[in-house]
């Protein structure tokens, strides 16, 4: 193998840390990402972790990106190889000309390295062992020591890292000073013994702006607080547990009555997903805003109740943080694979509203909106996140709230309205939008009570198995779903610079990779109009977009192109015109992948003169 010139890049590279689960490296690695942010340089970090607590390999990848690309890039420029178990694979994954950082305490045979990369050895174990005696300290400080060494190699400002350590250990002086000490131990060793900096460097910039750095699950939980959810029932499942955990901690901060100290919320860890959604439905039936958070296997269990919510018309909010299925699948890997399962969850003819946020800021907005929609439409609303947005920190615009905003409690008939003599038929379509009025239990001594059931009933909620009565009700539910089209977030369209017959549809966490892929495709000479779908039911602009383009690519992270299936199903479009672009190995889709898949297809169609790909 020939030597290759070392990669040289400022503020645009990928660092990957290979660690062992349980080694305490997570906080040092996250600090590395945050430190770069403090330089004013955007980052996009990703956790890659096994479904296991200790011992198995984990990776943390930080994409340093002056241009602000927040999707995964693919490839690794600097590998911090701290896990002997995965050494070979880690070394093989480095881009030609890239760098390998490793613990050189024990000598390694030269066959374990590559000629086309720069190898940087730091005797981390030797340094820690000579400084610390306690085994746990040795383990933890080793992480900070490599952080220190990296800061020298990448020419980072140590003050900014010290500042972060200061914030993390505020009030814990001993921990603070010992961490700063470890940082400099690594940094000084590198400065004295290595050629610093290497070709990769971090330079101060101003590209972060006022953006915030937050995980999607935490943002969604905050959306539930702002959206007025008072009841959360859940059952632990990765990657959704942190939604309920974040909701709990947000509620502890913001939802206690200052005088009595009592809680203005109730959180129940259900015995399973059946109970969790049952609690949500019972609470919503009784006029409170309630939600559950789960992932694919939980959705499977909830489907019976979801059918009840649809047919008996009871609001419910489900946050589904998707992971790779089917069955237990790959519990800690990301996918967008529950689209069909959620859109048509439960037996019989059902259709449900799905919301697809692209980042934490939208997760916050859509979560809050989900409660308005659930009450307005009296049905289940799914907030469809995935592990990639849910469990990773993302840079996004600051969260916003309009203090004048009131909750939309939907069509609720009050005691006064009943007193006025308003005709109350629980399933009457008074306004022609398919949405009936409901009453809360306990409203009026003699008027407005009704029986809620999952069995067929007439417009006045009286049990009936009459075919015409059943069909009438089912048609009204279709009308209601049509009404939903105009209430849910609309798709966002962005047109190519030049008119084109080709379009691309994408959604959710694919968004940043898609945005970046457009640039790569343009460089290859391909022009594409884009439509980001943000909800199901599809707005009429989806049909227009399909009509305006000869071919539309549908980019998604599942095997069977589920969004495409849904579009075909709901729009009656010729499937040939919708080209699936799928990625489903559990890692987040990258711009490179999208650009190659679409580019190759376009080349094949000979839509542009074939050009040599620029590497």
């Amino acid at each position: 193998m020939s030597d290759k010139k070392p990669i040289s890049s400022v503020n645009d590279f990928v660092v990957r840390f290979a660690n062992v689960n349980g080694s305490g490296s997570a906080s040092a690695n996250e600090m590395f990402a945050r430190a770069i942010l403090r330089h004013g340089v955007p980052v996009s970090p990703r956790n890659i972790f096994p479904s296991n607590i200790q011992g198995l390999p984990t990776w943390y990848e930080v994409r340093v990106t002056e241009d602000g690309h927040l999707g995964a890039r693919g490839g690794v420029d600097l590998m911090v190889a701290m896990n002997p178990q995965t050494w070979d694979k880690d070394v093989a994954g480095i881009e030609p000309g890239g760098y390998l950082f490793y613990d050189s305490t024990k000598p390694m045979p030269s066959t374990k390295f590559r000629d086309d990369i720069t190898v940087i050895g730091v005797p981390l174990t030797a340094i820690t062992n000579s400084t610390y005696t306690d085994p746990r300290q040795r383990q933890l400080f080793k992480n900070i020591i490599y952080l220190g060494a990296l800061s020298a190699l990448l020419e980072m400002d140590p003050k900014l890292i010290e500042q972060l350590i200061g914030e993390q250990y505020k009030g814990k002086e001993k921990l603070l000073s010992s961490n700063v000490h470890a940082l400099h131990l690594g940094r000084d060793w590198a400065l004295q013994n290595l050629k610093c900096p290497i070709g990769l460097r971090v330079k101060k910039s101003d590209k972060v702006g006022d953006r915030i750095f937050i995980e999607g699950n935490s943002a969604a939980a905050l959306g539930a607080v702002y959206g007025g959810a008072t009841i959360c029932a859940w059952y632990p499942i990765t990657p959704s547990s942190s939604v309920a955990e974040a909701f709990t901690s947000h509620c502890k901060k913001y939802r206690h009555d200052p005088e009595t100290g009592k809680a203005k919320y109730a959180i129940v860890q259900g015995e399973d997903e059946l109970a969790s959604i049952g609690i949500v439905i019972g609470a919503s039936w009784n006029g409170a805003r309630a939600f559950t958070a789960t992932s694919g296997p939980g959705i499977s269990l909830m489907t019976e109740f979801i059918g009840l919510s649809y047919f008996a018309e009871i609001p419910a909010v489900i946050m589904n943080i998707q992971r790779a299925g089917p069955s237990t699948g790959m519990p800690t890997r990301t996918q967008q694979c529950d689209i069909i399962a959620c859109a048509y969850a439960s037996h019989g003819d059902t259709k449900h509203v799905l919301l697809f946020p692209e980042d934490p800021a939208e997760a916050f907005e859509f979560a809050a909106a989900a409660f308005d929609l659930a009450e307005r439409l009296q049905t289940t609303i799914f907030l469809m996140l995935d592990l990639d947005i849910g469990m990773n920190h993302r840079l996004c615009r600051p969260l916003k709230w309009d203090d004048a905003r009131q909750y939309d409690r939907g069509k609720v008939m009050t005691a006064e309205m009943l007193e006025e003599g308003r005709d109350f038929g629980r399933y009457l379509d008074v306004d022609g939008d398919g949405i009936p009025y409901r009453t809360y239990p306990g409203t009026h001594p003699t008027k407005g009570s009704f029986f809620t059931r999952g069995t067929s009933r007439d417009r006045y909620a009286r049990y009936s198995e009459e075919g015409t009565v059943y069909a009438d009700n089912m048609q009204r539910l279709v009308r209601k779903f049509e009404t939903a089209q105009d209430l849910v977030p609309r798709p966002l369209q962005a047109n190519a610079e030049r008119p084109t017959k080709y379009g691309v549809i994408y959604f959710g966490s694919t968004s940043p990779a898609m945005d970046e892929a457009i640039g790569l495709l343009e460089a290859r000479g391909h022009q594409l109009d884009r439509l980001r779908i943000r909800a199901f039911p599809f707005h009429s602009s989806v049909a227009s977009f399909l009509a305006e383009h000869d071919f539309v690519y549908v980019v998604e992270q599942n095997r069977d192109s589920q969004l495409r299936q849904l579009i075909v199903n709901e729009n009656g479009i010729d499937p040939v015109r919708l080209v699936p672009i799928v990625h489903y190995d559990g890692t987040p889709i990258t711009a490179r992948y999208i650009a190659k898949a679409i580019g190759d297809h376009q080349d094949h169609l000979k839509v542009t003169p074939l050009r040599k790909a620029v590497s």
Binding site: T260, A275, I281, A283, N286, G442, R462
Partner: protein, 351 residues
């Protein structure tokens, strides 16, 4: 259509309770169950108990699962909201409803198939959480609505209508409720209204998880010789530990029973239960004693009825969660939403 409205006619001479309501105000639609079904007698007892307690009918939420028993909420308290949910899942729906509005009275009606099989988990967890409810299982040992299959409460050795012998062990929901920490546990018989009515009234007054297992023979599928849930069998093997009267808070206690044979239990809501002992040694405040007593009698084939356990100082789920007194469903944006100023601070902390 199986829906039959009851005529609204009220006889002017009908007796009225403290709130001015008559019996009629506590009735619902006409039952569509088989004539003679034990469940209808339980319906009548619920109506009677609510009438006697002078409950405002619309302040009750009645929630059930699926089964003949679960249909019954349609047949009482026609002015209250009912919820016929899905098979075995009444407890979670009731728990959610209760969390949303702590001010209503929650009546959960279920069957032995509903609660001891498909819903066994939900039954257990709602009890262990201490949800403030009256949970009634109308226990006939069979699946009525799906035509007579054994349920999990059918005794081992008992016979189906077709003569098949049940070889599985039975689940005793009362024993389980005791073990799970229910703070009011009773068993009764649908054919014994004088025992059942005050039990239901006392359970409604109880603040915590009240559980009543009511043996309720199924005329269609489980009322034959060889069944241990038939009218005859229950009458012959019924061993009551006590009888009770419920005295609503405001009533003076005029206890005219012989001293020592009556025990007065005062509940959170001020109501008092006057327990007339039949078994002089039975102590309804002793959870462990109740469990042993029950097991010993079950071994002898006896059905112990009465108020088996009560903890008058019980706390409910709202107390455990320390929720505000205002029902959560009455809180609005002004008190729930932390507002934009707080959000700005949150944003600042995320940079």
């Amino acid at each position: 259509m199986t829906y039959i409205a009851k005529p609204k006619f009220h006889h002017p001479g009908l007796k009225k309770n403290e709130l001015g309501y008559t019996h009629r105000d506590y009735e619902g639609k006409i039952s569509t169950l088989c004539a003679g079904c034990g469940h209808d007698s339980i319906t009548a007892s619920i109506i009677e108990a609510c009438y006697e307690l002078s409950i405002e009918p619309h302040r009750v939420a009645k929630i059930s699962g699926i089964g003949c028993s679960s249909k019954t909420p349609d047949y009482f308290l026609g002015n209250s909201h009912g919820f016929n949910s899905v098979h075995g899942r009444m407890p979670s729906v009731l728990t959610g409803a209760n969390l949303a509005n702590r001010d209503l009275i929650y009546l959960g009606v279920s069957g032995d198939g509903d609660s001891a099989s498909i819903g066994f988990g939900q039954f257990a967890h709602s009890i262990r959480r201490g949800v403030n409810m009256t949970y009634i299982v109308e226990n006939n040992g069979v699946y009525g609505l799906t035509k007579g299959q054994f349920s999990a409460t059918a005794d081992r050795g008992s016979k189906s209508k077709k003569g098949v012998t049940n070889t599985d062990n039975a689940i005793d929901l009362v024993a389980i409720a005791l073990q799970l920490g229910a703070t009011f546990v009773a068993r009764s018989f649908s054919g014994d209204k004088s025992q059942l009515v005050p039990l239901i009234a006392a359970a409604i007054g109880h603040k915590g998880a009240s559980f009543i297992d009511v043996i309720s023979p199924c005329i269609a599928f489980n009322n034959h010789a060889g069944s241990t849930k038939s009218f005859d069998y229950v009458r012959e093997h019924n061993d009551a530990v006590n009888r009770l009267d419920v005295l609503v808070g405001r009533d003076p206690i005029a206890v005219d029973y012989a001293p020592g044979t009556v025990q007065v239990v005062e509940q959170h809501d001020g109501s008092k239960i006057a327990l007339r002992k039949i078994d002089a040694d039975y102590d309804p405040h002793d959870r462990l004693g109740a469990q042993t007593f029950l097991a010993k009698h079950a071994a002898k084939g006896q059905i112990v009825t009465g108020l088996l356990y009560v903890d008058p100082d019980a706390e409910d789920l709202h107390a455990h969660l320390n929720t505000v007194e205002t029902p959560l469903n009455a809180l609005e944006a002004d008190t729930l939403c932390p507002g934009s100023a707080v959000l700005d601070k949150i944003n600042a902390s995320l940079r």
